[in-house]
């Protein structure tokens, strides 16, 4: 029995069974089914990861294997990096279901059904080796996510979040489909390896450049890269916490993974001569995204919206990593995504604990109120340090690989900028944690925007009969896994090998279309050297310093504050004003971004 289709089939079948019978079985049966199905899917994804260590698992649905090296059917192409992301999706989904047990006072069967279909779609999207199949899973994933974001539909914020999310992402999906149509028209193929083979020996022409720009736009809208990111902060701030965990921890990163997944098998040959300019564009967009996300996070007081902008900041770091277009950087980005997904998931769960225990998610109103949930404070501290890349925990091996790779391709300016972006995001998380759990900092800060509406319910003073471990257990578990992942022996070296296999287009094409064995990779250990430790230390110390700056900025002597304050007030207000919350503006920015991306590619590709 082949394992590959099970990653999609298990959650889909469980969702179908729940749809049919869930109403009659009661809430706890729904919860248990969700936990069991998500956990089983995680196990399958992990097994796929372990079985694909030495060669890809290519599964052709319905037995439609390639004839004479030409793809006829639709394939899943499992490599360790993609299977790792699928396993992350399953693990976060499991933690979300466990958390939801105690988090929701009441929740319908539809919630579990949507979550399970969402998981199936994410797994299919991560593993599919066929461009149109990717689109179908992309849309399935989107529709589930729209509905889940708008789950608490009687409030205004989820309405706004879901509408902005749905409209913006649908336009993005249309552009993606336009790109797929153009690629199919040019190559007659939809299989990623087959597209690459059809483009062998061709020079990039106008049509291909437009098609590639459209594909990139579609995936970057999903990822939330600037200027396609506006929907993300509205949607993630409005979604229920268990949904946020999955959206922020893995869905955004799937958009970027898709960029790597289409570039290497399909387009790396035809754009080989233009890799330098493509690298400059992607890394530039990544740095812009990282800095905008970190800066906007600093100006938030609504904890969920704050973490949404932290997510955008980290999407920027990942885009820069993937955009370096080297095997170590791809390996580093994937390891970073895995550790970061767990850490961000844990942070969202910590906010969920506060929302549950104190019935509030506002940093300023919660100042000094963290005593109701001390474990959430531990999660905030660990999460902040994890996001900063404290060596040797969590995200450190990933960022070390990215730093090394940036220096190797001559982008020596990139590591300091990425460190600055980590400082902004991690410092803001530490600031919020220190204000809430230690009562530090000023009670008011007028430069922070959007005061979330106060809760109508009374705080949960008396611990209920069900023990709170069901709330803080998943949060701490995600933190421990995220931070501990770095201690897997030899992971950085192995991941680099997998990334080399991912990027070896001729060998990969032969493997998918002819079933050939991949080139054996020599074992190579990765020694980070001194530079990544220095950057890790700088960004950790910087994040702590930035947290104190955020807390006590207004107590600095007046002569120190005046000039920088005046210089930054205008641009900050303008940046905040751009995030208007109106869907028309967001779609206009999307159009501008797509045109800019296409224009830059057209100007630089020869």
């Amino acid at each position: 029995m082949p394992l590959v289709p099970l990653v999609v089939a298990v959650p889909l079948v469980a969702a179908a069974a729940l749809t049919a019978m869930g109403q009659f079985l009661g809430r706890r049966v729904d919860d248990l089914t969700g936990i069991a199905a998500a956990a089983a899917t995680t196990v399958v994804s992990t097994m796929l990861l372990l079985r694909s260590l030495d060669h890809d698992l290519v599964y052709w649905f319905g037995g439609w294997t390639p004839r004479h090296g030409i793809a006829l059917g639709i394939a899943f192409d499992v490599d360790p990096l993609s299977a790792g992301i699928a396993a992350l999706a399953g693990a976060l989904m499991t933690a979300s279901f466990v958390f939801a047990w105690r988090y929701f006072d009441e929740v319908g069967t539809l919630f579990h059904v949507l979550m399970l279909v969402f998981l199936a779609a994410m797994n299919g999207f991560a593993l599919s080796g066929d461009l149109f199949n990717m689109f179908v899973f992309f849309e399935l994933m989107s529709v589930c996510a729209f509905a889940l974001v708008g789950y608490a539909i009687e409030q205004r914020a989820p309405l706004q979040g879901a509408i902005n999310f749905a409209a913006t992402n649908t336009v993005g999906a249309l552009l993606l489909l336009f790109g797929i149509g153009l690629v199919y028209g040019r190559t007659g193929a939809l299989n990623l390896a087959q597209i690459g083979r059809a483009l062998d020996g061709r020079a990039p022409d106008g049509l291909l450049v437009v098609a590639f720009a459209l594909l990139l736009t579609g995936f970057l809208v999903k990822a939330g890269a600037v200027p396609f990111h506006f929907w993300l902060s509205d949607a993630y701030a409005a979604a229920p916490i268990p949904v946020c965990v999955v959206l922020s921890g893995v869905m955004s990163d799937l958009g970027l993974h898709a960029v790597a997944r289409i570039y290497w098998p399909s387009f790396s040959g035809v754009f080989a001569a233009d890799a330098g300019s493509l690298r400059a564009i992607l890394v530039g967009a990544g740095v812009l995204t990282a800095l905008v996300g970190g800066t906007m996070a600093f100006f938030q007081r609504d904890l969920k919206r704050l973490l949404a902008f932290v997510t955008i900041g980290h999407v920027g770091i990942f885009l820069a990593g993937i955009g370096l277009l080297t095997a170590p950087a791809l390996a580093g980005t994937t390891l970073y995504v895995l550790a970061d997904g767990f850490v961000k998931g844990g942070l969202f769960l910590a906010v969920g604990i506060l929302l549950r225990r104190a019935r509030d998610g506002d940093e300023l109103r919660l100042r000094g109120q963290g005593g109701v949930a001390p474990m959430a404070g531990v999660a905030f501290l660990l999460g902040g340090l994890g996001l900063a890349g404290l060596p040797p925990f969590g995200t450190f091996p990933g960022s070390a690989l990215i730093i090394r790779s940036a220096n190797d391709v001559g982008y020596r300016w990139l590591p300091p900028l990425l460190a600055a972006a980590s400082i902004l995001a991690a410092g803001t998380v530490l600031r919020a944690g220190a204000r809430i759990f230690l009562g530090l900092g000023d009670a008011d800060d007028p430069s922070l925007s959007h005061e979330p509406p106060a809760a109508e319910e009374e705080p949960e003073h008396v611990p209920g009969r069900v023990s709170p471990p069901l709330l803080f257990g998943p949060a701490l578990a995600l933190m421990v896994v995220g931070l501990g992942l770095a201690f897997t022996p030899g992971l950085a070296g192995r991941a680099t090998q997998w990334a080399q296999r991912f990027e070896d287009r001729p060998a990969h094409t032969a493997e998918v279309l002819r079933g050939a064995a991949p080139r054996p990779a020599g074992t190579r250990a990765f020694h980070p050297g001194a530079a990544p430790y220095v950057y890790g230390a700088i960004s950790t110390v910087g994040a702590v310093g930035f947290a104190f700056f955020g807390l006590y900025r207004r107590r600095l002597p007046a002569h120190l504050r005046r000039v920088p304050g005046r210089l930054t007030a205008g641009p900050a207000a303008q940046l905040k004003a751009l995030h208007s919350g109106v869907v028309g503006d967001y779609v206009a920015w999307l159009t501008f971004g797509a045109a800019a991306l296409g224009g830059l590619l057209a100007l630089t590709v020869r």
């Binding site: 989107s142 708008g150 539909i153 409030q155 336009f178 959007h450 919350g581």
Partner: protein, 114 residues
């Protein structure tokens, strides 16, 4: 094969997109989104079109009969299903917006910003 169908697809997309950007009513916005979506049908079908080709049904026809590309038709069909789902979901959200927020104007719904 002329370039006209491609130009038409781009035009329909641009018209729909303009409507989405300028929309002051959610129902209008969903209709504009559907207009933009229909441009992809035009694009996909014109990519698979073959001059003097028949429908791609290979029963009772001699071997080697010219037919249009069935793959893009399958893609279009999938695309129709997807777009109907999205439109239905957005219209449901529009109803909820009217019911709970008393407005269908995206500008007035924008509670979170900055």
């Amino acid at each position: 094969m002329s370039y006209l169908p491609y130009a038409l697809a781009v035009w329909i997309f641009a018209v729909g997109l303009y409507g989405v950007v300028r929309s002051r009513n959610l129902v209008h916005l969903v209709v504009c989104l559907s207009v933009a979506q229909s441009s992809t049908y035009v694009l996909l079908l014109s990519i698979g079109y073959v001059n003097r080709g028949t429908a791609p049904i290979f029963a009772d026809v001699p071997k080697g009969t010219r037919a249009v590309d069935p793959v893009v038709q399958a893609l279009t069909l999938t695309d129709v299903v997807v777009s109907v789902t999205v439109a239905a979901l957005l219209l449901a959200l529009a109803i909820q917006a009217q019911r709970h927020a008393g407005t269908t104007d995206p500008d007035e719904l924008a509670e979170m910003h900055g």
